[in-house]
């Protein structure tokens, strides 16, 4: 029951990511998705009385819902990035593609999961959809920050998939992953800042010619 609410929210936010046209909107949607991920982990940890999961859900909240959106919003302010995302596929067509991804995920989960209608299966579908949509965002948004969000959404999806299939990864791997993500975002912040200083934009489709 509660799980249904959380997973529907996760799916809706994943679709919102596809339709937003602005970088700040994209970052806020990512934050909302991370909050749903936090709720999912918290619910699992609470019902299974699993202390490790509760610690991990706290980390999810601190890192993905607070620190990373804050860092990304700060870099948007610092480089005074224009709001548009460099869409090469417009939002409506992106929604069509996202729906196709969702359908394929359902089809795949129907064949792959042992019990078709279980909540784990629903979580698996949501996670698979998020992974596909994250990759799609990376491929179709030409601004560097949009691609960063795409990668983070994929990471959210994989985290959810791990929770759905195996009940979470081993504790140390989770911690290592969080550090990985954190370092990634910090490096990206510096990197995007340098790129925007050097090129005066962060549009990756215009970076093919050499510049000294």
């Amino acid at each position: 029951m509660i799980l249904n609410f959380i997973l529907s929210g996760f799916l809706i936010i994943t679709f919102l990511l596809v339709i937003t046209k602005r970088i700040t909107g994209l970052i806020r949607a990512f934050r909302a998705q991370s909050i749903f991920l936090f709720l999912y982990t918290f619910y699992q940890g609470f019902t299974q009385r699993n202390l490790e999961l509760l610690v991990i859900c706290g980390l999810v909240f601190a890192l993905k819902a607070l620190v990373i959106p804050f860092v990304l919003l700060r870099i948007v302010r610092r480089i005074k990035a224009e709001e548009d995302l460099g869409l090469i596929i417009n939002p409506q067509l992106s929604l069509v593609i996202a729906t196709v991804f969702a359908y394929l995920s359902y089809l795949f989960a129907h064949n792959a999961m042992p019990r078709a209608n279980s909540p784990e299966s629903a979580a698996f579908i949501a996670s698979l959809t998020a992974v596909c949509i994250g990759f799609f965002l990376m491929a179709s948004r030409m601004k560097a920050l949009g691609q960063v969000i795409g990668l983070l959404v994929m990471e959210n999806g994989i985290f959810l998939a791990a929770g759905a299939i195996a009940g979470g990864m081993p504790f140390f791997i989770e911690i290592a992953l969080f550090f990985d993500i954190f370092v990634f975002v910090v490096i990206i912040e510096v990197f995007v800042y340098k790129v925007s200083r050097l090129f005066t934009h962060i549009d990756t489709s215009k970076m093919k010619s050499l510049k000294g």
Partner: protein
């Protein structure tokens, strides 16, 4: 099968719906005003308005044709007919035949909208034509979302409460906001020409015709709320209370969109509805 008992039951439900429809609008208005720290009109105000309009004389432009006179009756009748049809579909464990009834109901509502749009054009005023064109523009995006959402509801007939119900309910709520001309899409409270859609269409009407059109709008809103309450398995009175609160909260916390952003809003509703029917097909 349609027995006499059934007919009496459906008629009774429709009459009740028509009686309580203005009250729901009054309650939403009251919630909105109280949340904005205003006193606002009482919840019975829509009844007083309708009574006042029924007692007033009509002013009709000389340039109008029969469509202008016929439209209020047709709009009102289409809303009543749609509510008969909707109550023919039983809430709860749906059988798949109900899909036909529900789709027929929403098509009948489309008939009313068609005549209202014609009537808006009929008097030849610039506001009326603008309102009509905007209404058709918005409804051409809202209607697919409604149909697919209803489709998801009927496809997931035997399923328990799950993802498809939640997603479908959200899609229908978004479409209902557009269809009942509420804030992110349209604004009921103003006659300012930049924002108005529904109000612009009915600008030429006065007196009894306006009363009929307003009553029809209240009934249409109730129909959407009724179907919406089926998604969440909430019995009608509690369901209406929750939906009123939700709609009021949305209305006070969101700014009105530009007309061309409504396309994004409603296409999002459409694809969420599609996702809901995919989930319903997979058994969630």
């Amino acid at each position: 099968m349609m027995t006499l008992n059934n007919i009496i039951l459906i008629t009774g439900k429709t009459v009740l719906l028509a009686l309580f429809a203005p009250l729901v609008s009054g309650i939403i208005k009251k919630i909105k005003n109280n949340l904005r720290m205003r006193k606002g009109p009482g919840i019975l105000q829509p009844y007083y308005d309708i009574q006042k309009l029924f007692l007033k004389d009509e002013v009709v432009s000389k340039n109008t044709s029969w469509i202008f006179h016929a439209a209020p009756a047709i709009v009102f009748a289409s809303c009543l007919c749609a509510s008969f049809l909707i109550f023919m579909a039983q809430p709860g464990p749906f059988i798949k035949n109900d899909l036909a009834v529900l789709i027929a109901a929403f098509f009948v509502l489309g008939l009313g909208r068609f005549f209202l749009a014609l009537a808006g054009l009929d008097a030849g005023s610039s506001f009326g034509g603008m309102g009509s064109s905007r209404e058709m523009f918005i409804s051409s995006f809202a209607e697919p979302a409604v149909f697919i959402a209803v489709f998801a509801l009927c496809m997931g007939a035997g399923n328990s409460f799950g993802i498809s119900r939640l997603l479908g309910g959200l899609a229908l709520l978004m479409a209902a906001i557009a269809e009942t001309s509420r804030i992110p899409v349209d604004n009921q409270e103003t006659h300012l020409e930049l924002t108005m859609v529904h109000e612009a269409m009915v600008l030429e009407y006065s007196g009894r015709s306006l009363a009929l059109i307003e009553l029809a709008a209240y009934i249409k809103q109730m129909l959407f709320f009724t179907v919406l309450s089926w998604y969440f398995f909430i019995p009608a009175p509690a369901g209406f209370a929750i939906i009123c609160l939700a709609v009021a909260l949305i209305e006070i916390s969101v700014a009105k969109m530009r007309l061309f952003r409504v396309v994004d809003f409603l296409s999002f509703a459409f694809f969420i509805a599609l996702l809901a029917s995919i989930a319903a097909g997979a058994g969630f």
